[in-house]
């Protein structure tokens, strides 16, 4: 059971690292307006996800 959680942990870590790396690579080519829009939507994404999990009782 513990091993499974460790593997989940690794999986999540690699996913976050991969998405982070790709985002950092692609953000370089975005215009300033695009960067601002993406930032606003990212904040919205995490805020709504937070609210969703809060409502679920996490």
């Amino acid at each position: 059971m513990k091993l499974e959680y460790i593997l989940y942990g690794f999986g999540i870590l690699f996913c976050v690292a991969g998405v982070g790396y790709l985002a950092a690579e692609y953000v370089k080519y975005l215009s300033d307006l695009g960067k601002l829009g993406a930032l606003v939507l990212t904040i919205g994404l995490f805020a709504f996800l937070g609210k969703y999990f809060e409502r679920l009782g996490w």
């Binding site: 080519y29 215009s31 939507l41 919205g44 994404l45 709504f48 996800l49 969703y52």
Partner: protein, 177 residues
């Protein structure tokens, strides 16, 4: 049931934000002015695409074209205006050696409509380039507004031109013993 539905709204909003981010990346990548240069020297055509201009380090660092010393090359410069407004600017192409303009290849005010595409063509004949620049790498500079492109140019001798120019005969007279 009502709470569950309410929770799903937040999840849907989060998903919409994610899709919005993806849409921004796609839209932002499409919007802009893109230029492609194709150099045809009669033997082969070399093309430099917008992606290659943007990331030269991935494609060897610099772009070069060659013209045989008895030939010429046709340069086709295509500009695509992926914007909502008209692109008005001046397009200049020059041949530069040692930071000095040797030839003006193209110079014109251009106007490309929104989401339009236009090609400009000019020809450079090796005979127009002064002899002292043969086998010396020069630069073709293309400037239009904020866009500045550089392509190396070499006017080279081919086997045919080498055999056409005879090897000079040197006569050495040895001193008498």
């Amino acid at each position: 049931m009502a709470t569950r539905k309410h929770n799903n709204i937040f999840l849907i909003l989060a998903l919409l934000c994610f899709l919005g981010i993806v849409a921004i990346f796609i839209f932002d990548g499409y919007i802009g002015v893109y230029d492609t240069l194709a150099v045809n020297n009669g033997q082969y055509t070399q093309t430099v695409t917008p992606d290659q201009w943007g990331q030269p380090e991935r494609y060897g660092g610099s772009f070069n074209a060659g013209i045989p010393c008895n030939g010429s090359a046709t340069f086709t410069y295509t500009m695509e205006n992926h914007r909502f407004n008209k692109y008005n600017s001046r397009l200049d192409a020059t041949l530069v050696y040692n930071e000095q303009i040797v030839l003006n290849l193209f110079g014109r005010d251009i106007s490309i409509p929104a989401f339009g595409k236009q090609s400009f063509e000019w020809t450079l004949s090796a005979a127009d380039v002064p002899m002292q620049y043969r086998n010396v790498v020069g630069t073709i500079k293309i400037v239009s507004g904020n866009i500045q492109r550089q392509v190396g140019l070499n006017i080279y001798e081919t086997a045919a031109t080498k055999s056409a120019s005879p090897i000079p005969t040197i006569t050495i007279t040895l001193p008498p013993r």
